[in-house]
Symmetry: C2
Subunit: 445 residues, 2 copies
């Protein structure tokens, strides 16, 4: 059997490795258009910020190891330009020109692309996006070459938050330019407010409600034309989100779903036989609403890749869906979210209530405690938990995982309160903040 995998990052390499583990005799070819495989995209901001020394540190599996230890036929700088499902072939463009590659099974792991939708963008070296490791390395090159003093991040999501930290940690005058009065909608307004407050505390200049119309280089600077005037910087990062990279799939007649992502069933099968898809290019199911969603996050990509690989080998492993669980930090402020925000819950038809609590992250008297705030979205009446967000000390917000389990297992606030959580003063109060959030919630529903 011959399996072709398009894309060599998290999903693609997980799929390839899984298949070679289960079927060592099969030929597994990974076609990666860029020079890198299997890297930690989420680590790029920490490389730019200086906490991670070298881009190499972000590479989980070297091309040599993929080939020699795992027996994967790895082809870098090889872009798949067409799929011919009828013939069971793809067209590959590489240094050798265009060739055809046949497949028995095809796994599409084409990921996502940085998007700059709605911005009239004139190409320029000082204007950049960050999606893959090449972008990260290129950004570092720009910082070295131009020695900027003043830079801006356009956008309000995770990458924007993390890159603002990275630039600030390098000592640059750093500006946020964002069209909304708050950060991205993934953050509830309270969380957004806390992050923006921390940004101000760190000297970030906040240009909120600045709709960006045009970005162009002029006289050795970058001009950002906004609804409130022109701002000028030495470098500008556009971090306004990503879109699934699915033109190839669409042209092959594969059915697309939410936001143009590839529609797959829980076994990661696309609408065409012998073609699977996994990772940032696929649609998935929201575990609370049951509705299709596009949530390009790393854990999903890794799990889907591995499961698609297992299913190519004849397995029937199911990817159940996501809650959109995510974490980030800005300096000493950690932030986590899982499940539905209030708006999402209402949109999904729930009679939802949102409330917040503030609790000590360690025992009140124990050194190093901080305030942990928890927002909970619950269904009125039943008390079923639909979503939660947290903000507080970096060492306190991994608790969001407890809420992920709570939501995924459809627990009620009473069931949360009944949990026998662990206590000692260096780790929390007798009633963990999660228990307190449940106790308070029982009076709100």
């Amino acid at each position: 059997m011959k399996v072709l995998i398009v894309g060599g990052n998290a999903a693609g390499m997980s799929a390839a490795s899984q298949i070679k583990r289960q079927k060592p005799g099969w030929q597994v070819t990974v076609l990666e258009k860029g020079p890198y495989i299997s890297y930690a995209s989420c680590g790029i901001p920490y490389y730019i910020g200086g906490q991670v020394e070298s881009a190499e540190d972000l590479i989980a599996l070297s091309p040599e190891a993929a080939v020699k230890k795992r027996g994967i036929d790895l082809r870098l700088q090889s872009e798949v330009t067409a799929i011919r499902p009828g013939d069971g072939e793809v067209t590959v463009r590489s240094g050798d020109g265009e060739t055809s590659e046949p497949y028995d099974y095809l796994v599409l792991c084409t990921g996502a692309l940085a998007q700059t939708r709605g911005i009239n963008l004139e190409p320029g070296e000082r204007i950049f996006t960050i999606k893959d490791l090449s972008d990260g390395v290129a950004a570092m090159g720009l910082l070295d070459r131009y020695q900027p003093r003043k830079c801006a991040v356009v956008g309000g999501g995770y990458i924007a938050v993390e890159m603002l930290e990275a630039f600030r940690m390098r000592g640059l005058e750093t500006h946020l330019v964002h069209r909304r009065p708050e950060l991205a909608k993934t953050f509830e307004p309270e969380v957004s407010g806390a992050i923006l407050g921390e940004m101000e505390g760190q000297g970030i200049v906040l240009n909120l409600e600045h709709g960006v119309e045009k970005i162009a280089e002029k006289d050795g600077q970058v001009e950002v034309h906004t609804s409130r005037g022109i701002l000028a910087y030495d470098l500008v990062l556009i971090a306004t989100g990503v879109v699934p990279n699915t033109a190839l799939a669409a042209e092959a007649g594969i059915q697309l779903g939410v936001k143009g992502s590839i529609k797959v069933n829980e076994f990661l099968e696309t609408s065409l036989p012998r073609i699977y898809a996994a990772g940032d290019c696929t649609e998935t199911t929201h575990l609370v609403t049951g509705k299709p969603v596009y949530v390009p996050l790393a854990l999903k990509a890794n799990k889907e890749g591995s499961m698609a690989g297992a299913n190519v080998c004849g397995g029937r492993r199911r990817f159940p869906g996501v809650l959109g669980s995510a974490l980030t930090k800005f300096y000493d402020l950690g932030v986590g979210r899982t499940g539905l925000g209030l708006g999402e819950a209402e949109q999904a038809g729930f009679d939802a209530v949102k409330y917040g609590i503030t609790a000590n992250s360690k025992a009140e008297y124990y050194p190093g405690r901080g305030d942990l705030q928890i927002l909970v979205v619950a269904e009125r009446g039943t008390g079923r938990v639909l979503g939660a967000q947290m903000m507080g000390p970096v060492d306190a917000v991994k608790r969001i995982d407890l809420y992920a389990a709570i939501i995924q297992r459809q627990m009620t606030l009473q069931e949360v309160f009944d949990l026998d959580l662990a206590y000692a003063p260096p780790f929390g109060g007798v009633y963990d903040p999660v228990l307190l959030s449940a106790r308070v919630g029982l009076k709100k529903i």
Copy 2:
């Protein structure tokens, strides 16, 4: 209505506060034999160790606030010496001599006592136990008065571990004297080994397999007579566990259960009408085995107290039971446990398997990462998780709560692996250690 509450710490004050909240007009009298109420017993080692400045910091509610803000009739230094259920009265011994107090409802929150079972103990000032805040304050007095250079802790449980840290942080030559080759059975052998290793690294002298027969003062020192000879110290703390303080209940004819703790149903009712019990003096149910257990931990005491109070007021709140979830730390090593150990699982009749994993506590490349080890006990075949223990960086082991939820909700390893946990490099790997532990476990069951 008149409610008497015997004992003014976690359970007692929780009950009293709950009743006054629901029934402001009722007379609620707390009879506390000592001088303190409502303090954080678990914080005492950190007071001795110097992380917490004053014993006052450990007091959650001052007597003045209990009386003035909550309207509780608080009587310190008032010991209940007898219950006469037939008459609905108790006998109280205080500075005023012996008096009788009638009750409509009685809530027993008599807590636990430090036990020194099996040790021939000659009374002496330099030999002490630590159970309540008076003990903590007294211990601090001993340290000031005797300025010891060399001290020992006899025992191998949580308090022993924490007090060894406390003495060592004060710069004392510190010895562990313990009868077993490992710490207490609540720690799986691997966890015990890690803690003992960390203790050696911090210069603690480990006298393991030293059964203690006799402890007595001699010539201004304390001699600890062990199965391996006599050891001499300036001060000796005995931390060999606690027993429920239930002589009063027993004499009144109230039914006792495991280890002499007071038998209560899920509504915290004892075997006698109008008498409730809550906290470290009661038996409860283990959430995995369904069997009665004696697990004196702070969260249970607080919840039971509050629920007993609510039920006195006519409520029907249920305390479901415990998993024995607990945390502690020794210097930079955090340790957590929940559910059953392998031995307990086998004893309960489960066909159990135990396995371990080691994972990065943060992304591999992110600064400050450490090794987090997770031990999982699961049922063979079904993959139901029965217990888990963790050891690693202090900021990583609060994850044990996730396992508490997993076990309490009777999840299988497959269901654990399917959880959509949150990821970002400063908080863990893409696959959180808990997900990795589930993935590995799926191959072991």
